[in-house]
C-alpha cells in the first residue's frame, strides 16, 4: 500500500512536471525556471497527491479554462467537502499565478490568456483514463 502510494505520488509528480515542461515547450522559448514558478510547481506537485484521487473519483474535473472544478462533490463524505473546496480554490489560485508568472517571466504579460489556454489543453490531453475533463462545455470521462 505504501509502495503504491509512493508510485502514485511519483507518477503524479511526473505528470505535473511533464505538463509543465510540455506546455512551456509548446509556447516556444518560455523561461519557466523563476523562483516563483519553482515554488508554484512544488506547491502544485505536493497538492497533486491529494487531488489525484479526486480526479479519479470524479469529484474534481479538469475544466476547459485551465482550472480544476468541483464536478461531483457527492462522492466525498459530507464533512470533507469544505476541505475539498479549499483544495480546489488553492489549486486554482496556484494555477492562475502560474499562468501569470510564465507570461511575466517571458516579459510578455499579455500572453497570460494564451498560456492559460495552452495549459488547459495540455492538462486535458494528459489526464489519465477515467478522469473527467470538460469538452465543448460538457463533462466527459476520459
Amino acid at each position: 500500500m505504501k509502495a503504491l502510494t509512493r508510485i502514485t505520488r511519483w507518477l503524479s509528480g511526473l505528470l505535473v512536471g511533464g505538463v509543465l515542461a510540455f506546455a512551456a515547450h509548446a509556447q516556444g522559448n518560455l523561461e519557466i525556471d523563476t523562483p516563483a514558478i519553482a515554488a508554484l510547481k512544488a506547491s502544485m506537485q505536493q497538492r497533486h497527491a491529494q487531488l489525484a484521487p479526486m480526479y479519479a473519483s470524479g469529484a474534481v474535473g479538469l475544466a476547459v479554462d485551465g482550472t480544476v472544478a468541483l464536478r461531483d462533490a457527492s462522492v466525498v463524505p459530507l464533512a470533507q467537502r469544505s476541505g475539498l473546496n479549499a483544495l480546489v480554490a488553492a489549486e486554482n489560485a496556484d494555477r492562475a499565478a502560474l499562468y501569470r508568472e510564465i507570461a511575466r517571466a517571458n516579459q510578455r504579460p499579455e500572453w497570460e490568456a494564451d498560456v492559460r489556454r495552452t495549459f488547459a489543453q495540455r492538462w486535458i490531453d494528459r489526464a489519465q483514463a477515467g478522469w473527467w475533463v470538460q469538452r465543448g462545455g460538457a463533462w466527459v470521462k476520459k
Binding site: 523561461e31 525556471d33 523563476t34 523562483p35 516563483a36 514558478i37 515554488a39 508554484l40 506547491s43 469529484a59 468541483l70 464536478r71 461531483d72 462533490a73 457527492s74 462522492v75 466525498v76 459530507l78 464533512a79 467537502r81 469544505s82 476541505g83 473546496n85 479549499a86 480554490a89 488553492a90 486554482n92 489560485a93 496556484d94 499565478a97 502560474l98 501569470r100 508568472e101 511575466r104 517571466a105
Partner: protein, 671 residues
C-alpha cells in the same frame, strides 16, 4: 355548506331497487372545497363508489376523483368505506382508503394507508375544524401525494434526492366556536437526507423537530415557529454545518408581505444571532432585513463561515481569535448598513512556504458603514508582524462613505522606526479596491532590521519618503525613494513596484543606486576578508520574484576620490573563487601567499542577470588579450590583478559560492 339529495334509480316502484345514488352538493372549508360529490350503490356485486366531481385544496384543483369501496355501509349515522381504492384522473394511487362520512353533521374521517405501513388520517368535524396526522410518512410518499397537488415541490424533492420520514400533526380550526382560525403544525423529520446533483448542497442523517402555529387575523395570520436541528450534518456550499442550531421566530403573513418580527438562532460560537425581515409574497423577494450578531467567537466563526466565504484558498493558512459583534440592514433588497465591533480580535495568515506570514491583533474597535451617510471607524491594533518585521500598537481612524475609505494620518511602529501614512484612501471599483497614500518611513535602525531578518548586524538607518504610493489590481507602486544609509554611504531605491506581496509569486521591481559604500565595513560584516576603500553600485531594473533576484543590470565600481585602497589576501581569494577557476595569473599565485594585503587602483565588476545566467564583466577598459577581464586592478607595492575568465556564470552556482564563502567561512581553492 352542505346540499343533499337522494336519487333512487330503477323502474317502477314495485320492482327491486338496483341502483342507489346519493348526491351531496359540496363541502367547503377555508383550506379545501369538494363539489359534486356522488355516492353510488349498484346491484350485482360491484363495490359502492364515491365520485368527487371537483376538489380544490389551496390553489390546486382536480376533477374526477373516484373512490371504490369493497366494504361499504350506509347507515343512519352516515356512510362508511373500508379498504377503498382511489383513482384520480383515471390513475390509481398506491394507497388504501377508509372513510366515514355523516351527511347530516358533515363529519368526515379519511384514513390513508400506504404500502410501507405509513398512514395519514384526516378528520373534518363538519364545521371548521380540520385535523391531519402523518405517521411515519416517507418523503417519497409525501412527494407522491404532493404531486397530486402541485408538480413543482414534488419534482424538487425528487431532484434533490430527498429522503426521510415525517411524523406530524396539523390542526386547523377555531379553538372555540365562533373564534378565529388557528393552525398548528408540529412534528419531526427524521433519518432525512438530500443532495443536489453536484453534491454542493446536501444533508445526511438529519433530524429536525418543529412546532409552528398561526392565528388568523383580520388581515392575515400571526405565526410563530420553533425548529431544532437535532441530528446530522449538511454541506451548503461552501459551508459545512452540524446539528445544534435552534431557531425561534414569530411574525405575520399579510396580503402582500410575510413579516419575520423576530427570529433568533442559537448556535455554537455565537452568543446571540437575531434577525427581523419582511418578504414580498410574490416570489418571496426580500424587502427589508436586519441581522444582529452578538459576541461571535471568531475562533469558531472564522474557519467555519468567514474563511470559506471570503478566502477559500487560504482556509488552511488563516487563523482567527477574539470576538466580533455585527449588525446588518437591507432595504428593498439592497445593503444599507453594516456595523462591526471587534474585541481583542486577531487574524493571521501563515506564510505560503511555511514561514511566519502576516498577523494583526489583538484588534478592538468599531467599524460602522451606511450606504447613504458618512461614518467614522475607530480601531486600535495592538500589534502584528509581517514575516520578521514586527509592528507596534497603532490606531486607525477612518471616514467611510459609500465605497470610499479615507484614513486619518497613521503612525505604525515598525521595529524601532515609524511608518507614517498620510492621505491613505481606498476606493472600491468594479474590478476591486484601489488605494493611494503618502508614506514616510521615519528612520529605522539597520541594527534592528538586520537582527530581525537574521542578517549580520549592520550599522546605519533606513528611511523612506514615498509621496505617491498607489495600490491597484493587486499591485503596489511606490513613487518616491527609499533611502538606506549604511556602511558610511547610502542606497537610494526608486521605481518600487510590488505585486502579490503575500503570495507564492510575489514580485518586486526597483532601481537601486548605492554610493560611497565603505568596503571595509561591508567585507567585515560578511566575513569576506578585508577590502579598504569605497565603492558605488548601480542596480538597474532589479526584479525580485519571491524576494530573490531574477533580473538586474548591476555595476560595481570603486568610488572616485582619494582614499586608502588595500585588499587582503583572503578577499582576493574569495573574489577569485567567485569568478571560478583560473581567476588569477599563475605568476601571481606565488605572490599571494607572501603578503597579507595588497594595494589596488580600482575594483570593478558588472553582472547582467537574465534567465538564470549572469553575464559578467570587469573594470571598464580592463579587457585582456587572453580573453580575461580585470576585476581588481593592482596598484602600489605589492600589487596584483584579479582576473575573471568565465563571463557567463550560472546565477544559482554563483549564489552558492557566495553563500559558502560567507557562511561556511571556508578558504576557497585556488587553481
Amino acid at each position: 355548506m352542505l346540499g343533499l339529495a337522494l336519487l333512487l334509480g330503477g323502474g317502477p316502484f314495485a320492482r327491486a331497487i338496483d341502483r342507489l345514488q346519493l348526491s351531496i352538493g359540496g363541502l367547503t372549508h377555508p383550506a379545501f372545497e369538494l363539489h359534486d360529490i356522488e355516492l353510488g350503490f349498484a346491484a350485482g356485486g360491484s363495490p359502492p363508489r364515491l365520485r368527487i366531481g371537483r376538489l380544490r385544496v389551496g390553489a390546486s384543483a382536480w376533477r374526477d376523483i373516484l373512490l371504490a369501496c369493497p366494504q361499504a355501509s350506509l347507515a343512519r349515522d352516515g356512510v362508511a368505506c373500508l379498504a377503498g381504492t382511489l383513482h384520480v384522473g383515471g390513475r390509481r394511487l398506491p394507497l388504501q382508503v377508509d372513510f366515514t362520512f355523516d351527511p347530516v353533521s358533515a363529519h368526515l374521517r379519511v384514513d390513508l394507508r400506504l404500502p410501507s405501513g405509513a398512514s395519514l388520517s384526516l378528520v373534518h368535524d363538519g364545521e371548521r375544524r380540520f385535523d391531519a396526522r402523518l405517521n411515519q410518512v416517507s418523503i417519497d410518499e409525501l412527494a407522491m401525494l404532493a404531486s397530486l397537488f402541485d408538480a413543482g415541490p414534488a419534482d424538487a424533492l425528487r431532484r434533490y434526492g430527498a429522503s426521510g420520514r415525517i411524523d406530524a400533526r396539523l390542526v386547523w380550526g377555531p379553538p372555540s366556536p365562533g373564534g378565529r382560525d388557528v393552525v398548528r403544525f408540529e412534528g419531526r423529520l427524521s433519518d432525512a437526507g438530500f443532495s443536489s446533483e453536484d453534491g454542493l448542497h446536501a444533508g445526511e442523517q438529519l433530524a429536525v423537530s418543529f412546532d409552528a402555529s398561526a392565528t388568523a387575523t383580520t388581515s392575515g395570520w400571526n405565526w410563530q415557529l420553533r425548529a431544532a436541528w437535532e441530528q446530522g450534518g449538511a454541506y451548503l456550499h461552501p459551508f459545512y454545518l452540524q446539528a445544534g442550531p435552534v431557531l425561534q421566530a414569530q411574525g405575520q403573513v399579510g396580503a402582500e408581505q410575510i413579516r419575520i418580527e423576530t427570529a433568533s438562532l442559537t448556535m455554537e460560537g455565537v452568543q446571540q444571532l437575531a434577525l427581523s425581515a419582511s418578504l414580498w409574497r410574490g416570489g418571496l423577494v426580500l424587502d427589508r432585513l436586519a441581522v444582529s450578531l452578538a459576541s461571535g467567537d471568531l475562533a469558531v466563526l472564522g474557519p467555519r463561515w468567514l474563511a470559506p466565504l471570503l478566502a477559500p484558498a487560504l482556509v488552511e493558512r488563516l487563523r482567527f481569535a477574539g470576538t466580533m459583534s455585527a449588525g446588518l440592514t437591507m432595504d428593498a433588497g439592497v445593503l444599507t448598513g453594516l456595523e462591526l465591533v471587534f474585541d481583542q480580535a486577531g487574524v493571521s495568515l501563515a506564510g505560503a512556504a511555511g514561514d511566519r506570514g502576516l498577523a494583526f491583533g489583538p484588534v478592538s474597535g468599531h467599524v460602522p458603514w451606511r450606504a447613504n451617510a458618512q461614518t467614522q471607524a475607530d480601531l486600535r491594533i495592538e500589534g502584528g508582524h509581517w514575516e520578521a518585521l514586527s509592528l507596534g500598537a497603532f490606531d486607525v481612524r477612518a471616514r467611510l462613505k459609500g465605497g470610499q475609505v479615507v484614513f486619518s494620518p497613521m503612525q505604525v511602529p515598525v521595529l524601532d522606526g515609524v511608518l507614517a501614512l498620510e492621505g491613505l484612501e481606498l476606493t472600491r471599483h468594479a474590478e476591486g479596491w484601489q488605494g493611494r497614500a503618502g508614506v514616510v518611513l521615519e528612520p529605522l535602525s539597520m541594527q534592528a532590521l538586520t537582527d530581525a531578518v537574521g542578517l549580520p548586524q549592520m550599522a546605519g538607518v533606513v528611511s523612506a519618503s514615498l509621496p505617491g504610493v498607489r495600490f491597484s489590481h493587486g499591485e503596489l507602486t511606490l513613487d518616491g525613494a527609499l533611502v538606506v544609509s549604511v556602511f558610511d554611504g547610502y542606497l537610494h531605491v526608486t521605481g518600487l513596484r510590488v505585486s502579490e506581496p503575500f503570495g507564492l509569486a510575489s514580485h518586486l521591481q526597483a532601481d537601486v543606486e548605492a554610493r560611497h559604500i565603505d568596503l571595509g565595513q561591508l567585507t567585515d560584516t560578511f566575513s569576506f576578508g578585508s577590502i579598504t576603500g569605497f565603492a558605488d553600485l548601480d542596480l538597474k531594473g532589479l526584479e525580485l520574484v519571491r524576494w530573490r533576484p531574477t533580473r538586474f543590470d548591476a555595476r560595481l565600481a570603486s568610488s572616485p576620490g582619494d582614499y586608502r585602497r588595500r585588499i587582503s589576501q583572503r578577499a582576493v581569494q574569495n573574489i577569485s573563487a567567485l569568478g571560478g577557476a583560473g581567476a588569477m595569473a599563475a605568476l601571481q599565485r606565488g605572490l599571494l601567499g607572501m603578503f597579507e594585503t595588497f594595494g589596488y587602483r580600482e575594483i570593478g565588476l558588472s553582472c547582467t542577470l537574465a534567465n538564470g545566467i549572469c553575464d559578467m564583466e570587469g573594470i571598464a577598459r580592463g579587457e585582456r588579450a587572453d580573453g580575461g577581464f580585470r576585476i581588481v586592478r593592482g596598484g602600489g607595492i605589492p600589487a596584483l590583478d584579479v582576473i575573471g575568465y568565465n563571463r557567463r556564470v550560472d546565477w544559482h552556482e554563483l549564489l552558492g559560492r557566495i553563500q559558502r564563502v560567507i557562511e561556511d567561512n571556508v578558504t576557497p581553492e585556488l587553481h
